[in-house]
Each structure stands twice: as C-alpha cells, then as structure tokens.
C-alpha cells in the first residue's frame, strides 16, 4: 500500500510536506531494489537547489544511485542518523530513513508530482 500522505517522483523519491518544509526520502521500492544500503551522501545544510537537481548519492551493495530533489528549496536539515546507520533507509524508508528536509520555494511544484495512485500505477 502506497501512503497517500505524500507525493512521489518517477525516480522513486517521496516528499512529505509539513508547513513550509518538505521531508524527502526514497520509496520502499527504491530501497528494496538497491538492496542493503551502505553509504548515503547528503548535501550541506543551507545549500539551495532546484527541483530535479542531484543533491547526493546512495550506495548499496549493488550500485551507486543519485538522489534527486523533488522540489526546489534550501536544505534545512539532513538526517544525522544515516551517517552511522544507513540501513535505516532499508528498514524504514518512509519514516526513520528520511534523507533531507527542504524549505520549499514554490509549493506549486508539488502539483506536478505523482500522488499515491499515480505512483502505484508507475510501479505497475
């Protein structure tokens, strides 16, 4: 079941909005496909990015994958727990395994992202 409390990208990231902050992570599908995640590289707090920018990378036992930001904005927090325990992305991709928090500059960008039904359809 895909949670309908957030939006999704075709590259398998999610963004959950709380006020002016978007919390970003990768989906259960993406985490499962990557397999055991061993390193996560995240951007500096304060850095500003546009939607679709690569802001970090995720390395698993199978591949290094870029992390794309679903929405434009300033990074206000990165998940400190992932430094010591990147496996949180596998065990809890939608909660404890979140990656960055971003201050949204254009909430209208959310409209172009997939809702839960659209993402479920993408997964087939």
């Amino acid at each position: 079941m895909i949670p309908n409390d957030r939006k999704y990208t075709q590259e398998h990231e999610w963004v959950q909005v709380e006020g002016e902050i978007g919390i970003v992570g990768i989906t259960d599908h993406a985490a499962s496909e990557l397999g055991d995640i061993v390193y996560v590289d995240l951007p500096e707090v304060g850095a500003e990015f546009s939607a679709g920018d690569s802001v970090g990378s995720i390395e698993s036992v199978k591949a290094v994958a870029d992390l794309y930001l679903p929405v434009s904005g300033e990074i206000v927090e990165v998940n400190p727990a992932l430094d010591g325990d990147p496996g949180l992305v596998n065990s809890s991709p939608l909660d404890d395994g979140w990656m960055v928090k971003v201050r949204l500059v254009d909430p209208a960008e959310l409209d172009s992202l997939l809702d839960a039904a659209g993402y479920e359809e993408l997964l087939g």
């Binding site: 590259e11 496909e33 990557l34 397999g35 055991d36 995640i37 061993v38 390193y39 590289d41 690569s54 990378s57 390395e59 698993s60 036992v61 199978k62 591949a63 290094v64 994958a65 870029d66 794309y68 496996g87």
Partner: protein, 254 residues
C-alpha cells in the same frame, strides 16, 4: 537488429579510463544507442569505490610499483586492475534491452559475460549475494555480491554500477591472471580484513588458472574479440565501432 556503439581502447592510465567511462555516462541522452567499451590498464591501477577514501591506501607502496590510484564513479571496493579484461556499458534504464530495474540490468549484462566464459569452456554461475558487513570490507574480489559471476564457487568477474535518471554505467573486471591479488600490498595491514594473497587467490579464479596456462599479452585481443561477439549475440545487437572524436568527447577523454 538494434545497434550499439563499441569503443575498443588501447591500454590507458587509470585516471583516463575512469574519465572516459564518466564522460560516456555524462554525455548519454535519451534515445542514444547503448555503448560498450572494452579497455585495459597501463600502468596497472588500483581503483576504489565512490564512497571509499584515498587515505585507505598505502600511497607509497602503489607509487613504488609505478601503479596508479584512481577513484571510480561507481560503488564497491578496491581492485588492482592488472591482468584483466575490463568492460563498461552505458545504456538506458528502464528499457526493453536492459529491463525495468537494477536487477534486470545486471542480469542482462551477465548473459554475454556468462556466454563468453562458457564459450571458453568454463561453467560460470551467478552468485546469490553478500550482506552489508561484507560490503564494508576493502577488497572487491574477496566476496561475491548478488549478480556476480563465479566459476567453481570462485569469483572471476566483479562489476559495479552507477545509476542516474534514465541511464546507467556498469563496468567490470574479468580476471585473466592472478596479479590482482597484489592489491593487498597496497593496503595498510588494518585494511586487509585478515586476508593474505593466498587467501584472496583461494576465493577467486582467473582464465589463466582455469586453462592451466597463463594468457600471453598477444592473446588479449582475441579474448576481447570473443567478449564483443558475446555481447552482440546475447543482447541481439549490431556493434558499430565509434571513435571518441565522433562522440564529441575527445577533450574529456584524453
């Protein structure tokens, strides 16, 4: 028949080899045909994974041997590129050719690799996987990840992948001789994971050992030809040679 571009490079320094693979990944655009690149390393080079640190290696030991040290754009652990055939593939994912996922991508590229080894008379198999703890070790060929190719339980091909939006780079090493085990001389003792040269050779194999006679320098061209043929046959591709100048990458690839 679908086409793919093939680049067969002469042996090159480590930094050039990794710059060329990265340039192919950076330059790929949706709709481009896949690229197969076959290459070797001169001088020998230690490559380390995207998230490993240069400081993990004994720089003096590497320099004293005249070898290179270079970071890969892909993940995984360290390899001494010595007596080996190296391949890289850049192509679209998801796509009909490479399937919908990371897993299907590995499996699609494993087909020609396994066919190449079987055509040489070696019964290759695909390994089941390793865990997160193994991945944190320093030496690539010490363990076999999921999708890696083994013969008689010993690893012979190590591959790694970088994925971006709609495109992947996968490159890998096919062991032809045992010199890769000299990697351990390039690591401080604390980074060797309790492994010595014999121990590394015990969990790996190479084409020379399998044949019972080392491959000579003059035989590598034939091996490369066989590998290219296996890619063409198993993936149903016509391989069209392409030059770096035709790709508009002559500057980045030097």
């Amino acid at each position: 028949m679908a086409t793919a571009r093939i680049i067969r490079d002469l042996p090159l320094p480590g930094a050039v080899n990794m710059r060329r693979d990265t340039a192919l990944l950076d330059a790929w655009r949706p709709g481009d045909p896949p690229i197969l690149r076959l290459y070797r390393w001169r001088p020998y080079a230690v490559s380390y994974g995207f998230h490993q640190r240069s400081g993990d290696f004994d720089h003096a030991a590497i320099a004293s041997r005249g070898w290179d040290l270079v970071q890969r754009p892909t993940g995984g652990r360290a390899i001494l590129h010595a007596e080996e055939l190296t391949y890289s593939v850049v192509g679209p994912s998801p796509s009909p050719l490479f399937g919908p996922s990371l897993h299907s991508c590995y499996m699609a590229i494993n087909e020609p690799l396994v066919a190449f080894l079987r055509a040489l008379g070696h019964e290759a198999e695909i390994s089941g996987g390793e865990d997160r703890r193994e991945q944190r070790q320093a030496v690539c060929f010490k363990s076999a990840g999921q999708h890696e190719i083994r013969i008689g339980g010993r690893k012979i091909v190590g591959s790694a992948q970088r994925r971006r939006e709609g495109v992947f780079l996968q490159h890998g090493s096919i062991l032809v001789g045992p010199r890769h085990a000299d990697l351990l001389d390039c690591l401080p003792p604390r980074r060797r994971g309790g492994l010595d040269r014999d121990g590394l050779l015990a969990v790996t194999t190479d084409l020379g050992r399998l044949r019972g006679a080392p491959y000579q320098e003059s035989e590598y061209a034939d091996l490369e030809e066989r590998l290219a043929s296996a890619f063409a046959a198993r993936l149903g591709l016509e391989l069209v040679p392409v030059a770096w100048t035709e790709l508009g990458l002559a500057d980045q690839s030097a």
